[in-house]
């Protein structure tokens, strides 16, 4: 595309480029509208929420937020927030640990059935979660773990999210082998060379795994809906659920104030780590 500009060779006004930017900016505005609407609505007084195209509220209704902070079903937002953080934090630690261990074996070590096992691991990326959902529920139910956080955290310590194993394998394959060979000559066994040589170099892939795990776990609704039923164990996402059935429009402001609170960590994570996220996503598809 850029080549045509040089072969034509005219230094006229870059209409094409301006049009491209204008188009992208326009698309961006449309795409950001739902977010702007969310923030605006969370600050609107009850009577302006519906039937108003105007994004700007006539006055800022901060009481929506103080109502939201009281939480749902006598559970405060602070409690919901710490529940969400506990689950997401546990999931992050579990995924980073177990997926990097499995990835190292697949990327660097030799063992029998490596080929078929790797193929199986890749196939589980495509496996619909629902195919294993009910027996998993039964297992956790038998273990007395329903309505605890274990069913949400424990699987992450068992490398069940093959997508991340694959992501880390892809990254490790790009590391020079000479480093491990040097480490071996210096007397490092596979464990030491994993922890001291490979793992530090894999940091970008581990960060990507950590951030994706955090965001996906934070956003997760289905698993939490199934496993948690006491309000004091609810996460922010589950608490928003109680607004799903409610048809009363009066709670609109607080509902969207709470939605903003639930979305805020993801937005912050995205702003801070967007490079890792975008590149992690790009790498997952291209080298495959």
């Amino acid at each position: 595309m850029t080549t045509t500009a040089t072969t034509v060779g005219r230094r006229s006004f870059p209409w094409r480029r301006v049009a491209l930017h204008a188009g992208c900016l326009a698309a961006l505005l449309v795409m950001l509208y739902p977010l702007a609407w969310l923030v605006a609505t969370s600050l609107k007084p009850a009577d302006e929420v519906i039937a108003s195209l105007n994004l700007l509220p006539s006055k800022l209704e901060w009481s929506n937020y103080s109502t939201a902070l009281d939480g749902v079903d006598d559970v405060s937002v602070g409690r919901l927030l710490s529940n969400s953080l506990l689950i997401a934090g546990g999931a992050v630690i579990g995924n980073v640990l177990s997926c990097s261990l499995a990835a190292y074996a697949f990327a660097r070590l030799r063992f029998r059935f490596r080929g078929p096992l790797f193929a199986f691991m890749i196939a589980t990326i495509m496996l619909p979660h629902h195919a294993v959902l009910i027996p998993q529920y039964i297992i956790f139910n038998q273990l007395g773990m329903v309505n605890t956080y274990w069913p949400l955290i424990l699987p992450k310590f068992l490398a069940t999210e093959a997508f991340f194993v694959f992501l880390i394998v892809q990254f490790m394959r790009g590391l020079p082998r000479e480093l491990e060979e040097a480490a071996r000559i210096d007397g490092c066994g596979p464990f030491r060379s994993f922890f001291l040589v490979v793992l530090p170099l894999t940091r970008p892939a581990l960060i990507t795994t950590a951030i994706f795990t955090f965001i996906w776990t934070w956003n997760d609704f289905f698993t939490q809906l199934i496993y948690l039923f006491s309000p004091e164990k609810f996460t922010l996402t589950l608490a928003l659920r109680s607004f799903v059935d409610a048809s009363s429009q009066s709670a609109f402001g607080p509902m969207f104030a709470m939605s903003v609170i639930a979305l805020l960590p993801i937005v912050l994570f995205f702003l801070a780590f967007q490079r890792f996220l975008v590149e992690g996503m790009a790498n997952s598809g291209v080298k495959g």
Binding site: T124, P128, I215, F256
Partner: protein
């Protein structure tokens, strides 16, 4: 392993070496299984075993409290012949997949093409367009969607201004499905990022050679960009299709968990949840899960099969 045996003469390594090497190999093989152990445990206990159990349960009547009762093919027969809601959930899901996936991929490709030639601002746009892919999976955005497409919501108001009175999308069967599909299309950022990375790997020389030969931009797109991009296109198509079959949260939010209006957003997973966890028909839900597994497997297989005729791998062609 240890440095002491390095000075040993290579000639000597004939007869005493094998046991030592073998021991080393076994130790290394052992180490590999230690690294793999969490994954193996997870694969057996949380994937393979549940798949087998779910297959077994699909032939039973099971409510989680009483022991499973073998009913043979009863669940499947009921599903296919006596349950109109089941077929409505299949129809809604297929309709949604057919609308959402092509629209999403087309938009992703179009934006990736636009960004590709950009010198300034590319990484900014790339990140900005990607953002909805992360935010859109949340309940927060699903609730926004319901409000914006509701009776009196922004979309309804805008359409009324130009003379189209929808009375809100959320409570009209066909429109509610479309609203959910648009939420998926809105999240075109993830495939777009993958497209863009794929586009950047196409060698510039190909385009230079083509423009020397006088190929038009359209010609270049058809003869260079599309074939070179076809593996990435295929990857995105498979991944997005599989994900679309499993969509849950937006349909739950838009329909208040019921799949309405008139079962138009009763997606497969929503009905599975309803049968298994609301109505406690775990056997029936397991049968549904297995049909979903087979259906996704079949769709993937068909995609792989057709891919032979349109997916082009550069290193194969060079030979």
């Amino acid at each position: 392993m240890t440095t002491t045996d390095i000075p040993a003469k290579p000639a000597r390594a004939k007869s005493p070496a094998p046991p030592r090497q073998q021991r080393g190999r076994i130790r290394r093989e052992g180490a590999a299984w230690v690294f793999l152990s969490p994954w193996v445990l997870g694969a057996v206990v949380l994937t393979l075993l549940p798949m087998a159990v779910s297959l077994y349960l699909s032939f039973t009547d099971y409510d989680l409290f009483n022991a499973p009762r073998w009913v043979g093919l009863r669940n499947y027969v009921q599903m296919f012949t006596e349950d109109p809601r089941y077929w409505r959930s299949v129809g809604a899901t297929l309709m949604y997949v057919v609308i959402a996936v092509p629209l999403q991929l087309a938009l992703a490709l179009a934006v990736a093409l636009a960004l590709k030639s950009m010198k300034r601002g590319k990484s900014f746009y790339r990140s900005a367009f990607y953002a909805p892919s992360l935010l859109g999976a949340s309940m927060s955005i699903a609730l926004v969607w319901r409000a914006v497409f509701n009776d009196g919501g922004t979309v309804d108001n805008l359409l009324s201004d130009i003379g189209i009175h929808t009375g809100g999308w959320v409570n009209k069967p066909g429109w509610a499905l479309l609203a959910v599909a648009l939420l998926t299309v809105w999240q075109f950022g993830a495939p777009m990022v993958i497209f863009l990375a794929g586009l950047q790997q196409i060698p510039v020389e190909l385009y230079e050679a083509a423009s020397v030969d006088g190929a038009s931009r359209k010609r270049q797109f058809i003869s260079i960009t599309l074939p070179m991009l076809s593996p990435v296109l295929f990857f995105n198509l498979v991944l997005q299709t599989i994900q679309a079959f499993q969509v849950f949260t937006p349909a739950f939010a838009v329909s208040g968990g019921k799949g309405g209006p008139a079962d138009s957003t009763l997606f497969y997973t929503l009905y599975l949840y309803d049968r298994g966890f609301v109505a406690s028909h775990m056997g029936y839900a397991s049968a549904m899960a297995w049909v979903l597994l087979l259906a996704i497997g079949a769709v993937t297989a068909v995609l792989f099969r057709t891919s032979r005729s349109w997916v082009f791998y550069a290193n194969e062609g060079e030979r």
